[in-house]
Amino acid sequence: MKARVHIYPKRGVLDPQGKAVQRALGTLGFSGVAEVRQGKLIELELDERDPARARAQVEAMCSKLLANTVIENYAIELDEDSK
């Protein structure tokens, strides 16, 4: 089963990359972009086929390694979700 982990800087945490991208968009004439936050996407190919167990596994991976919850939020998406 495929899982995707979306990781973003928390609100209130300065995101200089997002700010730089927002400024660049403004320079290119894309007005009306109120905020840009840049995060990362991690794709995992899991042996586990049971969605609940897969989600629990990825949850544990996030809290132990993939995300730092002092500065980041994360959201887990399983392929199962889109069916």
């Binding site: 945490v13 300065l14 200089p16 990359q17 730089a20 390694l65 730092n68 002092v70 500065i71």
Partner: protein, 226 residues
């Protein structure tokens, strides 16, 4: 005093800190990150560098290296732990220090001397300095912006856990180089037995380096820990 310097794949200041410790008359053991055991030591040092290539987040993977379980156990028993630059990032990722280090506010790698004020002389790390003393020490980092939420920052201030602060003013190198909250350059744990700092005292530990303001940290440790 006997110190252990932990060597991660990608550490590049491990030998520099060994030289600085030996100049202060400490014995030094180099310990590979994959070792599950640590020799009995008076001080553990996590050196600067780019452990595991800074992949995912700086220090994230190093915080789970086999040796870190023993580092945490000894830290809990009160063995002093010093993390410099990448070592500071590892200590935050390992939960031995509060907060985290974000990319520099200016998005650039900063490599220059900075001016930092010593906030307290009441620790094994800073006893050779005076509170308020200003040191000139180099920084070299891309992810040195110290962040903690408002509650944690208030607690750090209240409990005197801020070790070093970037100093404003006209002196060369003055100012906050990376956007760190409260101008924080280094923090202690609550017991002041764990210190993480972004500046590199081992790179200002000999007149040949162009400055020796970092020597006091190593001399103070040897003085405090025998």
């Amino acid at each position: 005093m006997k110190a252990a310097v932990i060597v991660f794949p990608g550490s590049n200041c491990d030998r520099d800190v060994k030289v600085a410790l030996e100049a202060a008359e400490s014995r030094v053991a180099m310990v590979w990150h994959g070792d599950a055991e640590l020799p009995g030591v008076d001080l553990i040092v996590l050196p600067g560098g780019f452990a595991h290539g800074d992949y995912l987040r700086c220090g994230a993977m190093a915080a789970h290296s086999p040796v870190m379980a023993e580092v945490k156990a000894q830290a809990q028993r009160g063995v002093p732990v010093l993390g410099i630059c990448n070592g500071f990032q590892v200590l935050c990722e390992a939960g031995l220090l509060p907060g985290a280090l974000l990319p520099n506010a200016g998005l650039k790698f900063v490599c220059r001397d900075v001016q930092v004020a010593v906030e307290t002389s009441q620790s094994v790390f800073t006893n050779a300095y005076e509170a308020g003393q200003v040191l000139r020490i180099p920084v070299a980092h891309h992810d040195g912006q110290y962040y903690a939420d408002d509650d944690d920052l208030a607690r750090l201030e209240d409990l005197g856990q801020i070790a070093f602060r970037y100093v404003d003013g006209p002196a060369p190198g003055a100012g906050n180089p990376n956007g760190s909250a409260h101008d924080i350059a280094g923090v202690f744990n609550e017991g002041k037995t764990v210190l993480g700092l972004m500046p590199h005292p081992e790179r200002a530990a000999d007149p040949m380096h162009g400055g020796s303001d970092g020597c006091g940290l190593f001399l103070g440790l040897v003085r405090a820990l025998g």
